[in-house]
């Protein structure tokens, strides 16, 4: 099948630099443009102060569009949150949840986005109810398939069934590549060791994960061999991460429109230490994927206690890997 995989970046990747005031919005967008990663994804409330409770000034929206024009970048996706626990002790009413999603649809449309990302915990009925408004605005709502869930998970199947039953193209999926974690991330292991996990325990947990053993067996073994302590926090990660199969995306491909290229560590050899992106790209090509794959660097929180976080370099390496996997020529600035 024909495919058209475009390179993008979620500005989530630069959270460390923006939190510390080292990069502003223009810095982020320029950095992506220089890598030829022209698709831009944002977490709305990370990029724009005030969203959604206060709102965003028209000048800020104008600034966004001006930056898109200046750097030749394309708005791709606004990741929204739906704070259904806004009220202490009582669930947010259904109608209010739907209204909240509509508000994010409008915001996405205002920014020129094609998609808005829903978190996986949101009820399918809420998205189905918001779908007609999304169609009207030319926006698709994409459910992020995120660890510990995966494409074969009953909750995801329930969403898929609801989207089919609704008969709308306005609902789809956004797979986060973290669900295809085939090797325990080195930066996680080292962080846990710095947090006090004995190296033998860390080795044991890593081996258990890499062998794909059921989490509960490893949890029990660690408790027996080392008892309570920071190693329980490390082994707990096995309950929430696993090596699911990228080919499972095939059945869902017609409704997949954006991808989070989650990553923890790009090595100097241009491979992600834990996630098999060569296999991911093979599946995307096989399935005829047409859309962006957006870098989503998440190693930052794992190394920040021990070194300077090099988000831009890490994203650059992933983009280089993408160029290799796509047979694209690398922009000169990217190779440098």
């Amino acid at each position: 099948m024909t495919y058209d995989i475009k390179r993008g970046v979620s500005l989530y990747s630069f959270q460390n630099d923006t939190f510390l005031g080292r990069m502003n919005l223009e810095d982020c967008i320029r950095t992506c443009a220089e890598m030829g990663a022209t698709g831009i994804e944002i977490i709305g409330e990370q990029t724009f102060w005030g969203w959604p409770e206060v709102g965003v000034a028209p000048e800020k929206i104008a600034e966004w569009h001006a930056l898109m024009a200046k750097y030749g970048t394309t708005p791709v996706c606004h990741d929204f949150m739906l704070d259904y626990k806004r009220y202490k002790g009582q669930p947010m009413p259904f109608a209010e949840q739907v209204a909240s999603v509509k508000k994010d649809i409008e915001f996405g449309a205002l920014l020129g986005m094609k998609f808005i990302r829903s978190l996986v915990s949101v009820d399918p009925e809420v998205l189905v109810a918001a779908a007609p408004f999304a169609e009207e605005k030319g926006i698709k709502i994409l459910l992020e398939v995120h660890a510990p869930l995966h494409f074969d998970h009953p909750w995801i199947l329930r969403h898929a069934e609801a989207y089919e039953k609704a008969g709308t193209d306005a609902l789809g999926f956004l797979p986060d590549m973290g669900v295809f974690l085939y090797r325990y991330p080195r930066v996680w292991k080292e962080r846990f060791i710095r947090n006090g996990v004995p190296r033998e325990a860390a080795d044991f947990i890593e081996a258990g994960f890499n062998d794909r053993r059921l989490a509960e067996y490893v949890v029990n073994d660690v408790m027996l061999k080392w008892g309570p302590g920071p190693q329980m926090g490390m082994v707990e990660t096995l309950r929430h991460n696993a090596a699911f199969s990228p080919k499972r995306m095939l059945d869902f491909m017609p409704r997949i429109h954006n991808i989070h290229a989650k990553f923890y560590e790009m090595t100097e050899d241009l491979v992600e230490f834990s996630i098999p992106y060569d296999e991911v790209f093979a599946v995307l090509k096989q399935g005829g994927y047409k859309g962006h794959i957006c870098s989503e660097y998440e190693g930052n929180r794992w190394v920040e206690d021990a070194q300077e976080v090099e988000s831009v370099e890490q994203v650059r390496r992933q983009q280089l890997m993408f160029c290799n996997l796509l047979g694209e020529t690398m922009p000169q600035t990217l190779v440098a």
């Binding site: 460390n16 923006t18 939190f19 510390l20 977490i43 409770e53 978190l119 930052n300 920040e304 206690d305």
Partner: protein, 130 residues
């Protein structure tokens, strides 16, 4: 995340009202990759030099607006933004003596997509500004 940047190095000082020292304040940020509506900030537990501050003596301020922690729980029109430095003020007659102090802040945030309500705790030692 951002653990060693949650309690800011600057802004730790006593505060006065009509020439009278009424407390102290410091700057703090969210340990999170996005902002959060104020109604979802369930607690900001402050401990100074090992002494726990009563909840009712804590004030939270951003951009000139100020709330008690109880008032935060029903504030639906403002938020603590990503990276934004909030002012945490503690009511305390006479404030703190000059010198270094241990500061601890435990942030309890109700985040919709988490099944539970996490509390994240930070500690640091700071010099009180003159």
């Amino acid at each position: 995340m951002f653990d060693h940047r949650i309690i800011c190095e600057e802004g730790f000082r006593n505060v006065s009202d009509a020439g009278e020292v009424t407390g102290f304040e410091f700057l703090a940020r969210l340990p999170y990759y996005r902002g959060l509506g104020l109604s979802m900030v369930e607690n900001l537990a402050v401990t100074v030099d090992g002494e726990e501050i009563p909840r009712e003596d804590v004030r939270f301020s951003v951009r000139g607006r100020s709330w008690t922690l109880d008032e935060l729980e029903t504030c639906y029109d403002d938020r603590w933004n990503f990276g934004e430095k909030a002012t945490i003020t503690v009511k305390r007659a006479g404030g703190l003596p000059a010198g270094r102090h241990k500061l601890k802040l435990a942030e309890r945030l109700r985040i919709s997509y988490l099944p539970f309500v996490p509390t994240t705790t930070f500690e640091t030692e700071l010099e009180l500004a003159a």
